[in-house]
């Protein structure tokens, strides 16, 4: 097993762990941050598999913009993570 394969295994484990935490977290804030971290791992894997366009798109949109939009909407909910009922 070469050194590059070890890096790939570490990144796969990172994606798996952050995805697991994103599902099982109690607060939604933690879930959104873990989704952003998962996007970071996916961007690294895309670049490693020689697809730079896809990696750039995933890094900018997945790890940047959608997490920002999620957080902006979360901040407008009531404290405690409940939905804003009318």
């Amino acid at each position: 097993m070469s050194g590059l394969d070890a890096i790939a295994i570490v990144v796969f484990a990172w994606i798996f762990l952050t995805g697991l935490i994103a599902i099982e977290a109690k607060e939604r804030f933690t879930s959104v941050l873990m989704l952003s971290a998962m996007g970071l791992g996916a961007a690294f894997l895309f670049a490693w598999m020689r697809a730079p366009d896809v990696a750039m798109t995933e890094a900018v949109i997945g790890a940047g913009l959608t997490s920002a939009i999620f957080l902006l909407v979360l901040l407008r909910m009531k404290r405690g993570g409940e939905d804003a009922h009318e």
Partner: protein, 241 residues
């Protein structure tokens, strides 16, 4: 009465696109579908001699980035569909944005590092975003990536300066200009070459900035449109109480 006009224009545009979507050239009908033409196609295709970066001239697809030549060259119609989907989602966010404004956003005063750093970093983000979508045919990137980078710069301005407001009219005009010019260039390509979004500008030398015909112009329009669209989504979610 204006609804009749709008319906008539929509029907006309639909007929126009439908006629150019089929494999028909202007005037005669070909019996071979597009997929059969592409099955036997080699990447080097009809190019005279080997392809050398910076020297080869007059190639079939003049861009050095393979993904770009497919996204905006061969399958530019699919890119038009993607732009339409993005426009519809931005429209949807704009339509229900007033429901989000019921809860006020508590904006904290930004720290000194954030204020000073944003002033330094934002021009770099702007230059990098314009670089990415203007060099889409030379290096990895393109219109969607560059436009999203511009939108992230706008987000930084929103976070760092609490009194920042986006000029709504300017960004809506930019977005509309980008979309309409894309379709107009496609129609010009149809009139000049026989297919919608045909590459009617000359393919220069591979690797130069002014090469690959229509591709950098299309990516410029896509970058402007996507950047202003995502900036508008952020404005709908962030500002305006």
């Amino acid at each position: 009465m204006s609804r009749l006009w709008a319906a008539g224009i929509v029907v006309l545009i639909g007929l126009f696109l439908f006629l150019f979507l089929s494999d028909a050239q202007l005037g005669e009908r070909q019996q071979v579908p597009v997929s059969e033409k592409m099955v036997q196609k080699n990447v080097l295709g009809t190019n005279p001699g080997p392809v050398i970066f910076g020297q080869s001239e007059g190639l079939e697809e003049g861009s050095a980035n393979l993904v770009t030549s497919i996204v905006v060259g061969y399958r530019a119609l699919d890119t038009l569909g993607e732009i339409m989907v993005l426009f519809l989602s931005a429209l949807g966010v704009g339509a229900i944005a007033h429901l989000v404004w019921n809860q006020k956003l508590q904006k904290e005063a930004p720290s000194f590092i954030l204020k000073t750093g944003a002033g330094i970093v934002f021009p770099m983000i702007l230059v990098f975003g314009v670089y990415v979508f203007s060099h889409g045919h030379l290096s990895p990137g393109g219109g969607f990536q560059g436009g999203s980078i511009l939108a992230i710069g706008i987000l930084l301005l929103y976070i760092a300066f609490p009194t920042f407001e986006l000029n709504r009219v300017l960004f809506q005009r930019l977005e509309g200009f980008g979309g309409v010019t894309f379709v107009v260039l496609g129609v010009i390509g149809a009139l000049a070459g026989g297919a919608f979004l045909f590459n009617f500008l000359p393919n220069g030398v591979v690797g130069q900035l002014f090469s690959a015909g229509l591709i950098p112009i299309l990516y410029l329009l896509i970058g402007l449109k996507v950047g202003s669209e995502l900036g508008g989504i952020l404005r709908n979610l962030y500002g305006g109480e």
